[in-house]
């Protein structure tokens, strides 16, 4: 399941919903707001989403991952709104019988979400300027 959240990402809840000890393996990724990006000092940032389309596209990606890889559960949540340095921006977790599938699916979901889900990052730098961030 894919979701966007305007509140702090509740990763212990997400972990509880994704982990499945009957499975054998669990891989998760957490992405945090760094204090620098593309050579600039970041003070804070905002993620803007096109919510309905973001949730549809995110769930399409999860469905693709379930299809492509032999996995049991996959969950991804992306934060939107104003974030401070150190806040969690994205969380991806996958449970699977084998580690290969768990790693590959987690990576696939993260990469596809970053490139396809309509969410945009607007950084405010320490010099007071702000701007929309192009993909790295």
């Amino acid at each position: 399941m894919f979701d966007i959240s305007e509140e702090t990402i509740n990763e212990s809840e997400l972990r509880k919903n994704t982990r499945d000890p009957a499975c054998g393996g669990f891989v998760c990724f957490e992405g945090w707001v760094r204090d620098h990006n593309q050579g600039k000092d970041v003070q804070k940032l905002a993620y803007e989403a096109y919510p309905k389309l973001a949730i549809k596209e995110g769930n399409r990606i999860i469905a693709e991952a379930m299809e492509k890889f032999t996995i049991n559960k996959a969950i991804c949540t992306h934060r939107v709104g104003m974030l401070e340095i150190g806040d969690m921006a994205v969380w991806v977790g996958v449970s699977a019988a084998h580690r290969d599938a768990a790693f590959q699916a987690c990576r696939y979901i993260l990469d596809e979400v970053k490139s396809r889900v309509p969410i945009w990052k607007n950084e405010t730098w320490t010099d007071g300027e702000s701007g929309w961030v192009e993909q790295e």
Partner: protein, 80 residues
């Protein structure tokens, strides 16, 4: 004539200086609508990187526009 709503996201909000437009258009496709909209902005955006949606679904540039559609112009995603 069709009455449509146009949504701009990310840096395209700056290009068109708005996030939402209510518009009456004769355009048949998003392609034609885009050409109309170019008159409203000072600097032409990088069209090849823009994705378009109708009523909350990604569609092709040559998709037909219907009355009361919501058309969205989306720059490349930069989440994660």
């Amino acid at each position: 004539m069709k009455n449509i709503t146009i949504l701009f996201f990310g840096k395209l909000k700056e290009t068109w200086k708005t996030s939402e437009l209510k518009q009456t258009t004769q355009a048949h496709t998003i392609e034609e609508l885009y050409v109309e909209l170019l008159k409203l902005c000072d600097e032409e955006p990088h069209k090849a990187s823009i994705k378009v949606a109708i009523n909350d679904e990604f569609v092709a540039w040559d998709s037909a526009i219907s009355d009361h559609d919501t058309i969205a112009f989306l720059p490349p995603a930069s989440g994660g």
